[in-house]
């Protein structure tokens, strides 16, 4: 691998890592700041999934063409399938329990 | 150096979850926070290069224990929620903290190496305390003795193989007994 390619790859990995940390940060802020269960489930499922996806993407890029990359990709697939399902399960449980979605103007819960 | 940063952050996480799990009044909340504690512990084991212990913690701590505890409270009643935290009995807490501090002072100072602090692990096995010699011996001889690359795995599955096998039998028996009990309690 040439010097340039190596540099490009390192740069890409760093960008992915930074993006991952940023989106995980946003999801943490969302989980703490948003007003009710349903809104929190949004960031938990979406922003967090993207953050995790970017970081694992960096891991995949680091491994390049080794066999381990398959595991990392599989991890990515799992996260993308299970995260929204888990968020949905929590939101559904909240709905069935009778928790009303928050609308603007109400007090935060 | 950065490893120690991860380690200290993890330690903070584990301690916070541990305290929260102990203090939460609602048992369901405590179970959920305890699952978070298991997450931290598993990471810790992994960071200390004991992946198989981490794997066990992941499977047992977060998976099986959570479900068993849930089943337990399903079979019992849930108290009405009026307070978020348990009330602390301060004299008892102080005594406990003191005891814990003494224990930590005696044990932690005897630990020869702190792996995530970046100190090198002694591999020679000649100099130093008895503990260091034992650690050094296992680190140096494990691969030649057993052909297993990870020292922790080697101790668990090779040197103490029969022990681990016995443990597995106990866990399996407990699982079977649990199934029997649960099935018996099924009615309607």
């Amino acid at each position: 691998m040439s010097e340039l390619e190596l540099g490009l790859r390192t740069g890409a990995i760093l960008v992915l890592l930074a993006g991952g940390v940023f989106f995980t940060f946003v999801s943490a802020v969302g989980v703490i700041r948003l007003p009710d269960v349903y809104a929190r489930a949004h960031t938990a499922s979406q922003t967090d999934t993207l953050g995790a996806g970017l970081v694992v993407g960096a891991v995949v890029l680091t491994y390049g063409f080794e066999t381990e990359v398959i595991k990392a990709v599989l991890l990515l697939v799992f996260i993308f399938i299970t995260n929204p399902t888990a968020a949905h399960a929590a939101a559904r449980a909240a709905y069935v329990e009778g928790i009303e979605p928050w609308t603007e103007g109400e007090e935060r819960r | 150096m950065v490893v120690s940063a991860v380690g200290f952050a993890l330690a903070a996480f584990v301690i916070t979850t541990g305290i929260a799990a102990a203090l939460l009044r609602d048992s369901l909340s405590a179970i959920i926070v305890f699952a978070a504690y298991s997450l931290g512990m598993a990471l810790f084991y992994t960071l200390l290069l004991a992946p198989d212990v981490g794997l066990t913690e992941a499977a047992i701590g977060a998976g099986v224990t959570t479900i068993l505890l849930l089943l337990t409270i399903a079979k019992t009643t849930r108290p009405r929620r009026e307070e978020l935290f348990e009330r602390i009995h301060w004299p008892a807490a102080v005594v406990c903290a003191g005891l814990a501090a003494v224990m930590v002072a005696f044990t932690v100072t005897q630990i020869p190496v702190a792996n995530f602090a970046g100190d090198p692990t002694p591999v020679t096995g000649e100099a130093g305390t008895f503990g260091e010699r034992v650690t050094g011996h296992y680190l140096a001889e494990t691969y030649a003795d057993t052909g297993v690359q990870n020292a922790v795995t080697a101790v668990l599955a090779a040197y103490r193989g029969f022990d681990t096998f016995g443990e597995a039998v106990v866990v399996f028996a407990a699982g079977v007994a649990l199934l029997v009990v649960l099935r018996r309690e099924e009615f309607a």
Binding site: V26, Y38, T47, T85, Y95, G98, E104 | A74
Partner: protein, 403 residues
């Protein structure tokens, strides 16, 4: 004391508990009542009536069994026949009327009792009763574990497919030593992999697949799915940037609404794919799936509009039904969209969805059907007795939609 009863597994224990409490507190009478939820005024079907009467007879016998003396008196009644009962509030109202007529203050509830059939109205009904000033108490009963059958008839295809997937997964975790290793590795991985995959497939092939898989169609769908995934990723990244902006915005400009969409996909995996895709694209979260109805929580208006425009739905239709099926009218054009939480026009009404209402397809249909059946003056009658929020919920589909 008043005990609303219905068919439930813990009914026997509840009766025993109620009698015990009545004796302790020296209550003069226990009233076991069945609120009958038939919307057509007055004419409960004879079969239903007989069923309810048998139930009440049974309860009466049990109560006599448990009572030590002749006090307290046991009374039974069927209530609410003349009234339209739909929401938890309606049930609570009927119970309250009965309680007032008989001078009852204390109400004991069977935790497994469900006033609206399959709809979980109980909790909301209890809250409503407490608000009306009654002492409400849940009988401490042991809930039996419910189990449903998971297994289905299996077949060679199911077994084969599951075996292949498990075997592949096993080799994958083993780092594909079967390809990269030497002869011993090949042999070892082959044998252990076959055993492991055999155990998995043998024990689970009756559980994993809901229908008989057709291999060729599965292949085509996988190819189309591989086209769909990049598109989904693009959507996820695009809208995540928007949601990031919103979350980090100091004022948190969100306008969350619960909506209901009748989507044009059906069956297990297509619906799951669509629901998960909706959840993954920021701003929308699938809260509940009920047949073809998806209950989606939308965080802000543009997310809602995107949902109603149905781009994801079309993409999922493409994956599962082919390119020709992708061209379909948007849910908004079909009139399959509905806002369950306060439409903009009366945004200050303080309305929100109540737990029971619309939470089950059955009640909703039931409600719509009776809505059509009932006459105009009945409707105005009801408008007086019911508060305004429930009317929002029964807006016909499409009306409150893309407002």
């Amino acid at each position: 004391m008043l005990v609303p009863v219905g068919e439930s597994v813990t009914l026997r224990q509840t009766v025993g508990y109620a009698v015990g409490v009545a004796e302790e507190t020296d209550a003069s009478a226990i009233h076991f009542v069945v609120p009958v939820a038939w919307h057509s005024a007055g004419d409960v079907e004879p079969a239903v009536r007989r069923e309810v009467e048998t139930l009440l007879d049974r309860v009466q016998v049990w109560a006599r069994e448990d009572a030590s003396g002749t006090t307290p008196a046991v009374e039974t009644a069927i209530i609410g026949e003349e009234q339209y009962m739909f929401s938890p509030d309606d049930y609570a109202g009927v119970l309250a009327d009965y309680a007032d007529a008989h001078g009852v203050e204390r109400i004991v509830v069977d935790p497994e009792y469900s006033p609206g059939g399959n709809v979980p109205l109980l909790r909301a009904m209890e809250v409503s009763l407490v608000e009306r000033g009654y002492t409400v108490e849940e009988a401490p009963v042991e809930t039996p574990v419910r189990r449903s059958r998971l297994t289905r008839p299996g077949g060679a295809v199911q077994f084969g497919l599951l075996f292949a997937v498990s075997f592949l997964f096993y080799q994958l975790l083993g780092g594909f030593a079967i390809v990269t290793g030497d002869t011993f590795d090949l042999f070892y991985e082959l044998v252990t992999g076959t055993i492991a995959a055999g155990i998995v497939a043998g024990s689970l092939h009756r559980v994993t697949m809901s229908e008989r898989p057709r291999l060729r169609r599965l292949g085509v769908q996988l190819v189309r799915l591989s086209l769909y995934v990049p598109y989904l990723l693009y959507e996820i990244v695009k809208s995540n940037i928007l949601i990031t902006f919103i979350i980090l915005h100091p004022r948190l400009p969100i306008e969350p609404r619960l909506t209901r969409v009748r989507v044009a996909v059906w069956g297990g995996s297509p619906l799951t794919t669509l629901a998960n895709s909706i959840t993954l694209t920021p701003g929308t979260l699938t809260v509940r799936a009920d047949g073809q109805y998806l209950y989606v929580h939308a965080l802000f208006p543009s997310a809602r509009e995107g949902l109603f425009a149905g781009t994801l739905e079309r993409a999922v239709r493409f994956v599962y039904y082919g390119r020709a099926a992708a061209a379909v009218a948007t849910p908004e054009e079909r009139g399959d969209t509905e806002l369950l939480q306060r439409p903009e026009e009366d945004a200050d009404a303080g309305a929100s969805v109540r737990s029971g209402e619309g939470s089950s397809e059955e009640t909703r249909r039931e409600g719509e059907r009776s809505e059509e059946a009932r006459t105009e003056d009945e409707r105005s009658e009801e408008a007086r007795t019911r508060d305004d929020r429930s009317d929002d919920d029964r807006t016909p589909p499409g009306d409150g939609g893309g407002a």
